[in-house]
Symmetry: C2
Subunit: 501 residues, 2 copies
């Protein structure tokens, strides 16, 4: 182990402290900050990001990285590789381009926030064209440095090591099977007796108590994290201090409850990263696909299962003071609500059956945008055609079409596929975990997540960035990432209606 | 204006952003952070402080400061002087000494937290001796660089420009007059009918609503700040984002209410600093004495006046749902409670009459400790003698004696006098403001602080660090800082019982 490597560890530990500070300040911005502080906070965050960039790209960092030889320890070696990757990405783009892109996305996002409400695509278009132009420029430049295609260079920033060639076959299967599958699911659902959802009000204070109870049940350590409220739910914070948020609707407790379970999946990943490597690049979570797999594994795979619904029903009843035996409040009824499928326009509101369709549309479009095969002017109609071909719906306006998501206005191209890949990985992880550890399934039926969490700690969380997402999925499940486990899961839960799905 | 000066402004703006980050992270630590994150947060804060120190002491800063010539604009010129002051202080001490002192104070503070509860001075003594030894060493070294005596070098770190020679005559007057004054006040108080304090419970939620209402009444801008709960109340946060805290007792609403009014005084100062200079050294608040003068001006001078108590009483009644006309809840009764005087052992619980006695004792002792004329071993008995001679009380144990405050274990010598100087300045500011703007007094009787705030904006808040504390007091009041206004105020309110005191 070289002196240069040890020196790099110290430098990256300082960057990790700065990341922790940025994490808490960003959480505070969404959850605590008074509105009049927004402008100043924006400046503060930009300054800290700038300091972070300066520290990472300082000349002595390049010298140390050139000097360091790969340590024998595989984690140290992976750590050095990840340091090099982060340094290369940080230094790949000329400062002018970075700043121009930051300004263009900030401007576009601002326009989007008002133009979306009135479906005013014409107002958004010039700003979005700027963002796309500068993102393409950055993708080409980054790709040249990394030896990747422009789209792969973008993908790699959210999911290190993932390439378009990994995604295409997975998504091709989905594209082929999904429309028919959705049709079959809806047919069967229509044949079942109607659901009568329990009616509220469901006081926020009680929803909050229930949310915290479920977080603890899943294994969330309340001494190292918090639950709060924000407009857009997220999981953030810092190492050893994982903070999730939700938002409450007093007429329906299910969205907040499932949102908390989703974010708890993210949080358990962050809480399970190896302590010894918390301050180092290799100790970070392994990218967006793995992160999303962990939230979906909890929310979709386990917490919408019939067995968990049966365990959950009496706890929900107790939380809202419902008398035991009240019709419509048992596990069967709750389960019907949790697995209700309904094709719709809005991605973030979609059920797990129709969700991938939203991603397939966006994936094809953003590849075409980055390749220069699609113009922003043609985006709305191309988007609407895509939704129609996969979900059979006619998008009524751009607010519910290509303007619904913040990602593209923010310059986040290459991010969407991770959501669907995460759903695929979650299904694979569930099969593997429950096969390898037969005690997991009966434990979940008792509300006990400890055996599952133990498997995840070993096979996913504890590995951090010591291997690629693809490798971690392969090692944990014995097969490469593909759509088969996901499709089998949908078939079992929604077509067969298997009791253990 | 030189290029070097402009470059310095940019560097110091980055330091100000870092200070904002540290401010929010420190607030979060006391108010929001889950307990398991404490160790990591400690590391993060130390790392950011280290980065701040590195940035301030980087070689190019010295070069720029040497190169810069005083700009013609008086604020820019004061800004450059304050930059030089901060740089000189940061570079004055050898790193070894800074680190040894940081470790010694951290260790001593930790021991103090447990030893205090059992009055175990023997356990504290070695650690406190280390802190004193290293603080003296630092004071000597700092004093040599600054051309100041060791004690003045310490004073200057909390109150730029204030010297022992400014304090001694003020405190000599207090020392001569206070014991007799306290006796007279207590005699008169004993001659008045007994108070029957209203009894609770006073629900926290209602105390909180009342607190926020009073904050707004005084001029606190809720879009640029917050009120929360912490174990030790404070006013912190960042520029444009001023956050105060309090703690609640359901049996007595007065401590939290007066605490909020006190911290609001601090907050109004921070909110009133000149916007154009927020990111620069000259734009910061002008030291501890001025800061304390602002909290005491609100809490003690105005909010414990009879006129304000008369305005306040019906609002307090409404807050707690008390029927109008309930005996013991009118302005006269509330006022009696707000101005109750009782010599006691604990500084932070002291009323405004006996408070300076606590400071006089500490001031003499810490001067002697720094001069080497008093040993830590002799501190407890010297402390107890001091309290006896000024307050006539026999200190029963060190918990209620020299171990009650965190300041000395934390290495904060030279801090205490600012509290009493702040009380003197507050009395002077009140007289000056009410004389110069006759509308202030009748406005306060209507709960309207706007005319007062306007005077403070011009004469105190808006001046930031463009002049020394002494100069700001002199300019605002027409006289140098002294004890006369404070003593006259005590006499009017507590001996004469004047209606307008």
């Amino acid at each position: 182990m070289t002196k240069a490597y040890l020196s790099l560890e110290r430098h990256f530990a300082r960057l990790a402290s700065l990341d922790d500070a940025l994490g808490i300040l960003s959480w505070d911005k969404e959850v605590m900050m008074p509105p009049g502080a927004a402008e100043r906070r924006g400046e503060n965050l930009a300054m800290l990001e700038g300091m972070r960039h300066d520290m990472l790209t300082a000349p002595h960092m390049a010298d140390l990285l050139a000097e360091a030889t790969a340590p024998a320890d595989p984690w140290q070696s992976a750590n050095l590789a990840e340091m090099r990757r982060q340094h290369t990405r940080a230094t790949a783009l000329p400062t002018d381009l970075v700043e121009a892109r930051a300004q263009a996305t900030a401007r576009c996002e601002m326009i989007w926030r008002t133009a979306r409400d009135t479906s005013d695509f014409a107002s958004l278009r010039p700003a979005l064209e700027d963002v796309l132009r500068l993102t393409r420029e950055a993708a080409v430049a980054m790709g040249e440095v990394l030896g990747l295609s422009p789209y792969d260079a973008l993908l790699d920033s959210f999911d290190p090591g993932t390439r378009q060639t990994d995604i295409d076959p997975v998504f091709a299967t989905l594209r082929a099977d999904l429309p028919n599958l959705i049709g079959t699911v809806l047919e069967r659902q229509a044949s079942l007796p109607a659901i009568t959802p329990p009616h509220g009000p469901f006081p926020v204070a009680r929803q909050e108590v229930l949310g915290r109870q479920l977080m603890r049940q899943l294994g969330f350590d309340m001494t190292r994290g918090r639950l709060d409220v924000s407009t857009h739910p997220f999981c953030g914070g810092a190492t050893q201090d994982v903070r999730l948020t939700t938002r409450y609707d007093e007429n329906d407790f299910i969205p907040a409850m499932m949102g908390v379970l989703h974010e708890t999946g993210h949080a358990l990943y962050d809480m399970g990263l190896p302590k010894a490597w918390l301050s180092q690049p290799v100790g970070q979570a392994g990218g967006m696909t793995l992160h999303e797999s962990q939230s979906l594994l909890m929310e979709m795979q386990f917490c919408r299962s019939r067995a968990f619904a049966d365990w959950l029903a009496p706890h929900v009843q107790a939380a809202f003071g419902i008398t035991e035996g009240t019709p419509g409040w048992d596990g069967a009824a709750l389960h019907r609500q949790l697995i209700h499928v309904e094709p719709g326009f809005i991605r973030v509101d979609a059920d797990e059956v129709t969700y991938p369709a939203h991603i397939l549309v966006r994936y094809e479009l953003e590849k075409a945008l980055i390749a220069g095969d699609l113009s922003i002017a043609d985006l709305p109609s191309a988007f609407n055609d895509g939704i129609h071909s996969l979900l059979g719906l006619r998008v009524p306006d751009d607010r519910r079409g290509c303007m619904q998501d913040i990602h593209w206005p923010e310059g986040l191209f290459g991010y969407f596929p991770c959501y669907a890949l995460g759903a695929m990985a979650a299904a694979q992880f569930r099969v593997a975990a429950c096969t390898q550890v037969p005690g997991i399934t009966p434990a979940i039926a008792r509300g006990d997540f400890a055996p599952l969490l133990s498997w995840l700690r070993t096979n996913v969380h504890g590995r951090a960035r010591s291997a690629s997402m693809r490798q971690i999925v392969q090692d944990a499940t014995g097969t490469p990432l593909d759509a088969s486990a996901y499709l089998a899961h949908i078939h079992q839960r929604y077509v067969v209606g298997a009791a253990d799905a």
